[in-house]
Symmetry: C2
């Protein structure tokens, strides 16, 4: 047989069974929380029309996009690079079948031709949850409540959702006297506050030509960055003449009130005036979750309100707020923090039924069938000439918890022998009690 070289495209991954089981566990927990909050799943195809993907001013996207076409195909297609553009297209196409507000989640792979690097892949999963069609801050608060619930259910103990409002950021810029054209520079620098400190931000802003007194006014306000509602009150006094800032402050206060109603503990969130979020499309609240212990693990969720985007295929905006959960990072962190539940052993099979010879293969299969009928995940060995010792080794390597023996002697006596691999405990029971005995050994 001629050998063909087996390799994967750059930046793409296979997952071994144990890894798939972990990924499915995480997706299962998150899905369950989404549904408890009344969110519904959607499915969209991997390939979209190129014009759909490039719809939202897409030069940035075009650099990352995987283009696709089949021989003879005339359509220009591409693989989706996020789940937001498909949502916008979906809402426009199915508006008659959807009841607004529409609460949807979408957990699916996306593709980006980024330069691969550690922890960055060209195919990776995104996990988005959004409320489409609600302008009230109740929706933003509910997304935050959902995020804290999901992270808690996954076992994260120490995390904080940082909350800010794009309108307040704009207001701060206006108050400081930063020209509108330079607001982008402003946000980019403030975004680095944690990394480069107040002085670093000051230096960057000066370098980008923003006047010294403007920078000074801004720094005054950013001092209050994590002061919570008290800080908001102080900032409000300073920004009394800037309507958009007051609007942002009002929204933040309203959101904090609703977070209380939803039972989100105060220790779980903080109003952070310096939290910017990179994406340009946010229009109101923004929120991002950081793991606080251990430190420096970065953010695990990011989102906000983006009222202008989801309507882009229908010619009329739709108020929308929502978040991504960084599911790839969350999967890695559960490993790092040892948060996977102990019953997730990375293996499927619980019992391996050995086989002593060709003549008893049928009996072994029959036993496997009975164990399966009782809901026990069972594999029957089908290499009757292999030594029993090797078969037990195989069971051990596979991570099975029990091994069943059904030799000629056991068959004659109408019995089965079961052995637990972890402690070597053995029981021999009548054939009819095999499933019950196996279950006892499995829970023990």
């Amino acid at each position: 047989m001629p050998k063909i070289d087996a390799r994967l495209p750059k930046g793409m991954r296979d997952f071994l069974p144990g890894e798939v089981l972990k990924r499915e566990y995480v997706i299962g927990v998150i899905t369950d929380v989404f549904q408890t909050f009344g969110f519904e799943p959607i499915y969209t195809p991997t390939l979209e029309m190129l014009e759909t993907l490039l719809g939202k001013g897409g030069e940035e996207a075009d650099k990352l996009l995987f283009h696709a076409q089949h021989p003879g195909g005339k359509e220009q297609l591409g693989l989706r690079y996020d789940l937001t553009v498909p949502l916008a297209r979906y809402v426009a196409m199915h508006e008659n079948d959807l009841t607004m507000p529409f609460r949807r989640y979408h957990i699916a792979p996306v593709w980006r031709g980024d330069r691969p690097q550690k922890g960055r892949y060209r195919e990776f999963f995104q996990c988005d949850v959004d409320i489409v069609g609600v302008a009230s801050m109740a929706a933003d608060a509910e997304i935050v409540s959902l995020l804290t619930t999901a992270l808690g259910r996954l076992g994260f103990a120490d995390f904080t959702v940082h909350i800010n409002n794009r309108k307040l950021l704009t207001g701060i810029g206006i108050h400081a006297g930063v020209p509108e054209a330079q607001l982008g520079d402003l946000y980019r620098s403030v975004d680095k506050l944690d990394k480069i400190g107040l002085d670093g931000v000051k230096k960057e802003l000066t370098a980008s030509g923003i006047a010294g007194d403007a920078i000074g006014r801004m720094m005054d306000l950013l001092q209050h960055r994590e002061g919570g509602l008290d800080a908001l009150r102080q900032v409000r006094a300073q920004l009394a003449g800037v309507p958009v800032a007051l609007e942002g402050i009002g929204e933040l206060e309203q959101m904090v009130e609703y977070l209380g109603a939803l039972g989100v503990e105060e220790s779980r969130f903080t109003v952070d005036l310096a939290m910017v979020r990179g994406l340009g499309y946010y229009t109101g609240p923004v929120y991002e979750t950081y793991i606080t212990k251990p430190d420096n693990l970065g953010s695990v969720t990011g989102g906000g309100r983006y009222d202008e985007l989801v309507g882009m295929f229908r010619g009329q905006s739709l108020p929308t707020t929502g978040s991504s959960l960084g599911i790839e990072r969350i999967i890695d962190l559960l490993d790092l923090l040892n948060l996977y539940p102990p019953e997730l052993t990375g293996t499927v099979v619980q019992v391996i039924v050995t086989v002593f010879g060709e003549r008893t293969q049928g009996a072994s299969l029959a036993l496997a069938n009975e164990l399966r009928a009782a809901g026990i995940r069972t594999e029957a060995i089908m290499t009757p000439r292999r030594a029993i010792g090797k078969q037990v080794q195989y069971a051990d390597r596979k991570g099975a918890r029990l091994v069943a023996f059904l030799g000629e002697d056991e068959i004659k006596a109408g019995q089965v022998k079961l052995k637990r691999l972890s402690d070597g405990q053995e029981v021999t029971v009548p054939r009819a009690e095999a499933a019950a005995a196996a279950r006892r050994l499995l829970v023990g």
Copy 2:
């Protein structure tokens, strides 16, 4: 806001939430059965190297393949068109991390640039289950046992697995005197037996230049097509001089014995000498499941042993047997036959909490939070100015079962009113008993 045209590529589909829930139910049932049989999940990326996809003599594949590339990318990539080629590549690349035999399942979309037509799509799910590394007929029997279990668990009552063996078919051809170069024509015609009848097959074979006496000898054997083990015995006598035929018959008999051991009822399968299965790569047993009532729904599973394929990237063959479950067809058939469980209502949310005004929005959110904490899937309405009647209409359209009312009066009295939409039953309970009361109404 300028409007961009929202459309899908040809042959691609979105799924509405209710459809996604049905698909996930089917995948869940099948996954559960796979795991009970000790099979493990794998994940492979959507994009493969073009050379991997074209590896197995791929002109046929190349006509269907979606090619992919990102700007600046030098790799020639394509979207997978099946799950077998990725399995072969996976086994070759991860052999050191896998313990043979390897029982894997894989449920994932594949892409083919076929001409779209009713019920045929360019992105569709495949569901494959295979045992890699076992030559014994026990493996083939176990796959059939698994298929009947899965179809039974999905609620199918009337179906039959047709079983044949590629070696026996070859033997019949040799016995009849059909030249090896024409065996392909032979199989293609015999495959149509159900559609065109014995006479039709005869006519086709004559047209393709196969000698009349060869056709006659073949027809003699095919008469026994569904006679089960008795037929096998008769055919064995006629084929006594053809070793490959005897080998095939021996394998069939062994497989039938193991099916018995595995508790597969005799009514569930039939040895069918005229069942061919299209694909050229089968080397031993082949098996295909037909729904028998109602008639003419076609096959829902197809598979067999293909010992030469999975080894193609490692230069050494690996005995493998397995099956595809036609999951897209199964999903459609469950609708057609009304087999979805009644609790699968097509909607996620169970309770809608209405809101009487902005002042009580917080109280409504708090109630929603309590119901969620009790595991009840709950949505809170966030449009306080909408009339309560409209809110109840919304709950009805969403398919919620209960509506909760928390007006100023209820709040003052420390109560909540719950209404079941199906029969209009209402209860007013103390606030602290809301979750318990909701649960009672939901099961009632």
